[in-house]
């Protein structure tokens, strides 16, 4: 297949489309003025950002919520992934796999409304949860992010054959031991990426959070949304620049780490082959 200039051009256009808005966003965070013209370099939007207590408080709440939700989602999602990939047929499997995949495509407004009505009804019936706030946000976030973790873990489990686990079982290891000694280390990369995915989704969610949060518990996306709704605010550009830098550093770091691991693994394989031969 000859290399086609058309494909390369298409790829280039697509990548420019993806990156130019983000680059402009970053450039404008260092702009002195408010308007879309460059008037001079300035860091005063960053200074304002770090004095914006409402925004910083919301950011801290969001990080706490995302941390707890991602951890909960990883536990439930790993269980669900095991269930779907390793347990074969069980009663109600169809319903279960439907419930796992539905949040992936469910419009967020519906999820948010449904979760809120559940919390309201539960409170009427049992008195719990009392009002809405961090607790209800976390419960809702665990529910919608665990599906993503399940998919990641399940696909990792399906791509690995079960022979190691089977061998360990044959040798008499208990299921729990098999899971913690064999399965868990093998699927650890999937669990880590599932956690990161859940963390990001939780940190980023606006719609579901708006339904289930109460007065006094506004997350970062809610604060950003209400400020963006009123128009452009360069503080948000500064915030975006910080978020993009953290994400880029994290992903580059993970990329380098993976490449290094791969290199080590190849070297070990070569050594093993040389010794074997």
């Amino acid at each position: 297949m000859p290399k086609s200039w058309f494909l390369r051009f298409g790829l280039l256009v697509g990548l420019l489309f993806l990156y130019i808005p983000i680059l402009l966003l970053i450039v404008m965070s260092f702009n002195e003025g408010r308007l879309g013209v460059w008037t001079g370099f300035s860091l005063h939007w960053y200074a304002q950002l770090f004095q914006n207590d409402q925004l910083l408080g919301a950011a801290w709440l969001s990080v706490q919520v995302a941390f707890v939700s991602a951890s909960g989602a990883v536990v439930l999602g790993t269980m669900a992934g095991m269930l779907l990939a390793r347990f074969g047929a069980f009663r109600g499997r169809a319903l279960f796999s439907g419930m796992v995949s539905a949040p992936l495509v469910m419009p967020e407004v519906i999820m948010g409304l449904a979760m809120l009505l559940l919390f309201v009804s539960l409170e009427q019936l049992t008195g719990w949860p009392e009002g809405r706030g961090m607790m209800t946000i976390i419960l809702a976030h665990i529910t919608f992010t665990m599906s993503f973790v399940t998919v990641v873990v399940q696909s990792r489990l399906v791509s690995l054959d079960a022979s190691l686990e089977e061998a360990a079982m044959d040798l008499g290891a208990r299921p729990a031991k098999v899971f913690f000694v064999i399965t868990l280390p093998i699927i650890a990369p999937a669990i880590v990426s599932g956690w990161l995915l859940a963390f990001t989704l939780s940190l980023d969610d606006l719609v579901i959070t708006s339904f289930v949060s109460g007065p006094g518990s506004s997350t970062l996306p809610q604060v950003v949304f209400s400020s963006v709704r009123l128009g452009v605010s360069p503080q948000i550009n500064a915030l975006a620049t910080i978020v993009v830098s953290i994400v880029a550093l994290g992903i580059l770091g993970a990329g380098f780490y993976n490449a290094r691991q791969e290199k080590l693994r190849r070297r070990d394989e070569q050594l093993a082959q040389q010794q074997g031969g």
Partner: protein, 342 residues
């Protein structure tokens, strides 16, 4: 378990009797405690297994039932109740009247007939489908060459290129929408650029239009289109194209007759991943679209937060589920079964 096997993974058991017993009993883990009950000790072991197994089934299952399935039943229930002023702003389904001691069941249909009687809801629904469909086609047109180019690239370059496509997805969704406000608004970067080059002398009205909504959806959902497309194209058998070329088929024809039909599953998967969430989208039309960019997600939001009419908001949600999500899930199910057969 008895004997040397308690020490687990480190035990020197290769070739031992248990390992020789082999993988037939491996099904134990997978298919339940019925198989392979011959050996002593295995019984106890299986009882434990069944206990752990039940827990692993029960916890995520129970969670999803409580926090995912039950909420939808409640939505349905509230869609069938009337709204009232108060907390919560809807009438209870069961009412016990004190003087007669009877329980009255309150179920009303008028939230649904109301949706049909007011054009707003039907227009918003059709408009959402239309906007989502156009955005999906645009994603396909932009994403296909990208996915194909990555699939055809040197293997060393594939992972970094894919990473470049996914990277924006890890930054915040809101930030990505916000980026376009800065570009499209009247004093924005694009209008300044166009005025500076002299192409226009009045700023174009770009933000708060349906066009801005399309751009926003395409920008945010493009990776969801590219990834399944890439997965399909990368697996494709190149020998087919080579054979076509050997037989004198021009590349464009080979593409139309071989590559394109073979990539249909990827196109379908990607289109669904874009189309469904885009139909229910709230943030993008709210921030980039104008007041006339009517989409069903916005209508639901307004009913709930501005009008505080929970029953009508629930009825909108039920209608959206029935006419969008359920058909698509059934379609996917049927398709999955067909692929399973093939």
């Amino acid at each position: 378990m008895a004997g040397p096997f308690t020490s687990g993974a480190g035990a020197p058991v290769a070739g031992g009797p248990v390992a020789g017993g082999g993988h037939s009993s491996a099904g134990v883990v997978l298919t339940g405690p019925v198989q392979g009950g011959g050996r002593s000790g295995l019984g106890r072991f299986l009882t434990r297994l069944a206990g752990g197994r039940r827990l692993v089934v029960a916890v995520p299952y129970g969670w999803l039932l409580l926090f995912f399935l039950v909420p939808f039943l409640i939505v349905l229930k509230i869609a069938l109740s009337s709204s009232q002023v108060g907390i919560p702003p809807f009438t209870p389904m069961f009412e016990t009247s004190l003087d007669e001691g009877k329980t009255i069941v309150n179920l009303v249909w008028y939230n649904f007939t109301y949706l049909l009687s007011d054009n707003l809801y039907i227009i918003a629904y059709l408009n959402s489908l239309w906007i989502a469909a156009i955005a999906t086609v645009l994603c396909l047109l932009l994403g296909y060459p990208m996915a194909y180019a990555i699939a055809k690239a040197d293997p060393r370059w594939r992972a970094p290129l894919l990473m470049l496509v996914i990277l924006p997805f890890w930054t915040s969704f809101l930030i990505r929408v916000y980026a376009w406000i800065g570009i499209l608004r009247n004093e924005g970067v694009l209008n300044n650029l166009l005025m500076w080059t002299g192409l226009i002398d009045q700023p174009l009205h770009l933000l708060y239009t349906p066009g801005a909504t399309y751009v926003g959806i395409v920008y945010n959902y493009l990776p969801f289109m590219i990834l399944p497309l890439y997965a399909t194209l990368e697996k494709m058998d190149n020998t087919l194209l080579e054979a076509a070329a050997d037989l004198g088929c021009p590349p464009w024809k080979a593409f139309l007759r071989i590559t394109l039909p073979l990539s249909v599953p990827g196109m379908l998967a990607g289109s669904l991943l874009v189309f469904i969430p885009a139909t229910g989208e709230f943030v993008i039309p709210e921030l980039l679209g104008g007041p006339d960019t009517l989409m069903i997600g916005r209508v639901l939001w307004a009913e709930f937060f501005n009008n505080r009419d929970w029953p009508v908001a629930s009825a909108v949600a039920v209608a959206l589920l029935l006419f969008l999500v359920v058909p698509i899930m059934l379609f996917q199910n049927v398709q999955g079964k067909q692929q399973g057969k093939a």
